[in-house]
């Protein structure tokens, strides 16, 4: 307990932390820095490999992100963020759409659009600043 009337609890598969203050009647949800488990990592790797292979000849990002494997990666939720950033660190690719969906952030600027290396650098910097890398 952190003080009179306050509480902190961890629940759910994603280890979400729920905390609040009984006296003030306030409560909040937060996600701790995600620690991917082995199963999640295997699932992510399998989906990422399939996505890369089956979209390698597609010309437009709008088509790549509609691939079922990419959509499933987004469906993994916020725990996929560090895995995506690790993948991006290994090899630039169009993970930006998924990262935006999962984090509600966008560290890229209008001027960076179309410059894959600049967009990658912006997201990796964001990842380091937010302790994902």
């Amino acid at each position: 307990m952190e003080g009179r009337g306050s509480f902190k609890a961890t629940c759910g598969l994603d280890n979400y932390i729920f905390w609040g203050d009984l006296e003030l009647g306030s409560s909040q949800w937060a996600v701790p820095a995600p620690v991917p488990d082995v199963q999640l990592k295997q699932r992510f790797n399998s989906l990422a490999t399939r996505w890369k292979k089956e979209t390698m000849n597609l010309s437009f990002v709008q088509q790549m992100v509609l691939h079922p494997a990419y959509q499933e990666i987004i469906g993994l939720g916020p725990r996929a963020v560090p895995l995506i950033l690790n993948e991006l660190e290994k090899e630039p690719d169009f993970w930006f759409w998924a990262l935006r969906s999962l984090t509600a952030e966008d560290p890229t600027t209008e001027e960076m659009r179309g410059d894959l290396e600049a967009m990658t650098d912006a997201w990796l910097t964001w990842g380091r600043e937010n302790a994902y890398l």
């Binding site: 292979k53 089956e54 979209t55 390698m56 000849n57 597609l58 010309s59 437009f60 990002v61 709008q62 088509q63 090899e91 630039p92 690719d93 659009r113 179309g114 410059d115 894959l116 290396e117």
Partner: protein, 147 residues
Amino acid sequence: MRISDSVQFFNDFPRLDKMPRLFVATSPADVRYNCIAWAFSVTNQWWDPYHVWPKGCPRELSVGAFVRVFWALGYERCVDGRREAGYEKIALYARGDEPTHAARQLSSGRWTSKLGKSEDIEHRVRDLEGPCYGKVAVYFRRWRQSI
């Protein structure tokens, strides 16, 4: 192994799966540019409605929007992909109304394509038709400024 030797490649482009090969890979895979960029000889940007796109052109994945882009860059529609002296041609592929790819004609009359995040190849224009890119929807031409 080159990507253009992979099973996935020939699944996407079954017309290229012939011996002797009627296409040739002309660059390694490069994720920094795509077919539209390559159609305009750009090799460091990804051109699509969400990334680099000419000002004032609709940011949508439709044949009509792409026609506007080519007009904005000085191209006009033309009848076919036959070589015409003095003109540079581009073929726009589509599945239905959704553009899928663009190829640029070389002075030899053959065509050059950047395949997604993959390699550049030199090929015949109809050989990329199939499950991945659909069919050629529109041919464009522009006076070749460099001659």
